[in-house]
Amino acid sequence: MHPAPSIIFFTVFSGLGFGLLTFLGFGKPDVSGFTAFVFFAVAYALAVSGLIASSFHLGNPQRALKAFTQWRSSWLSREACLSVAALVIMGLYAIGVVFFNTRIAPLGLLGAALSLATVFATAMIYGQLKTVPRWNHWTTPLLFLGYALTGGAFLAGQTSIALPLLLLLGVGQLAAWMIGDGQFAKAGSTIETATGLGNIGKVRMFEAPHSSKNYLMTEMVHQVGRKHRHTLRIFGILCLSLTPFILLSAFQFSHMLALAAVLLHIIGAVTIRWLFFAEAEHTVGLYYDKR
């Protein structure tokens, strides 16, 4: 699948923002006044900028409000509704914390739940697609939640929670890669089932239907960069999980060190999210004898 920068930016940063909002909703850190304002501002900046970035890949963004209507069937619509609900509830909660030094706990918990539900809905946009077997697996929503919670714990300054999550996330990502590598074969779609000609013999593309690329190929038969997948996977895991873990556990805590760890973690997350798209293979590629 084509790794569009707007979607990578959206999924990583809105995930971080909603992850941070989740921790703020639980009252971690238990701050008020200006400090709380800064925390909420960071969370909102991340979540909202991610959502705005997602509109950059729309053909007609002026009609985006219509995306709130089909929550009964569409995960994308559910994500839109949940994200606005989470932002509104957390906004009310933030007003109490920032301006009145009162933490309305049930409101915070509701906001945290909605924030996690938003991340889950984002993941299900990909996880629901049977056409992309690598994504069509329970590891997709689990990992998206893992990324949001780990990054959120980090940004909320909850080092004791972030440390075990960092390792868990790393292991979870490795497991997802191992499972994901076999998913396309397991789904059973081949050029023979795609054309229905398998009972005659082995099928191969003889002539393409068009002389240059088309929308389908640039969007769904993206093969660029896959040859570097192993290097990128190692680089991604080192940045995402191992290096931040070592920085935070082996050295005396300092804010500069924590900042470096957070930045590395985000670089790792962006790299791995790029791979999430670049490595994903769509069944339409079979019609082009490509994966």
Binding site: G59, P61, L76, A80, R204, A208, Y215
Partner: protein
């Protein structure tokens, strides 16, 4: 509404005969022509005369080579357009309600004034039947020529999809696949029509007819054209022997 209807009164669709398709791409051209000049946003091209021409098409013809265990390979031309699936995954993923499946005839359509061009429906389709129009930013797909098949301004013989009307080898058939007595249903039953990628669970309405088995004997005259003499004789024989010696 992007929830799928539980039942459609008709199942209008195409039956495509892979035995008779000659791969002329006339259906591709007539589809592009009709659907550019009629319903909805025109099917645009980007740099049509440039180095990398791209454009929106609702119907494409792939050509495959199939190699049996024994014998010669076969070339099979393979037209592909929207299959108007009963369980259409492209419809349910749509966030705006622009994509829908009609209760009356099962045609899957896009309401272009509601489409935000997010492209998720194209991702959800296993067959690559939907293409984003890069000029309009809306999703385009086969409408089964909904503006022809019910159009009383057209002569009756033209009230079928443009691709079917134009096919010079009669490889494309249009009709109601819910009606067991329809011409298309009979064709599917007689010829063993099949679904594309049944493992995807989309329950396509369109069916494909398999190529008929090739004749074992290619040419009845061939046995009479066996070489008479295995070894050359006469002048050619002398030449052959002389050249061997050199």
């Amino acid at each position: 509404m992007t929830q799928l209807p539980t039942h459609t009164e008709k199942k209008l669709g195409l039956v495509i005969d892979l035995d008779t398709c000659v791969g002329c791409h006339a259906c591709v051209v007539s589809c592009k022509g009709w659907n550019t000049e009629n319903y909805g946003a025109p099917l645009s091209d980007q740099q049509p005369y440039g180095a990398e021409p791209v454009g929106t098409f609702l119907n494409r013809v792939h050509s495959y080579e199939v190699q049996p265990e024994t014998g010669f390979a076969q070339t099979i031309h393979f037209p592909k357009s929207c299959l108007h699936c009963e369980d259409a995954p492209c419809v349910t993923v749509c966030p705006t309600g622009a994509s829908y499946k009609r209760v009356e005839d099962g045609i899957v359509l896009v309401n272009e004034s509601d489409c935000i061009g997010c492209g998720l429906c194209a991702w959800a389709c296993p067959y690559g039947a939907r293409e984003m129009d890069l000029a309009e930013g809306v999703m385009k797909k086969c409408t089964l020529c909904v503006d022809r098949i019910y159009n009383e301004n057209l002569p009756e013989e033209d009230r079928e999809p443009a691709c079917v009307r134009t096919c010079p080898s009669n490889a494309r058939h249009f009709g109601d696949l819910a009606d067991k007595d329809s011409k298309v249903s009979k064709l599917v039953a007689e010829r063993g029509g099949f679904d594309l990628m049944p493992e995807q669970g989309t329950k396509p309405v369109n069916k494909y007819l398999p190529p008929r088995p090739k004749d074992e004997e290619i040419d009845i005259l061939a046995p009479f054209l066996e070489p008479i003499a295995a070894e050359p004789t006469g002048f050619l024989g002398w030449l052959d022997r002389t050249l061997e010696k050199i």
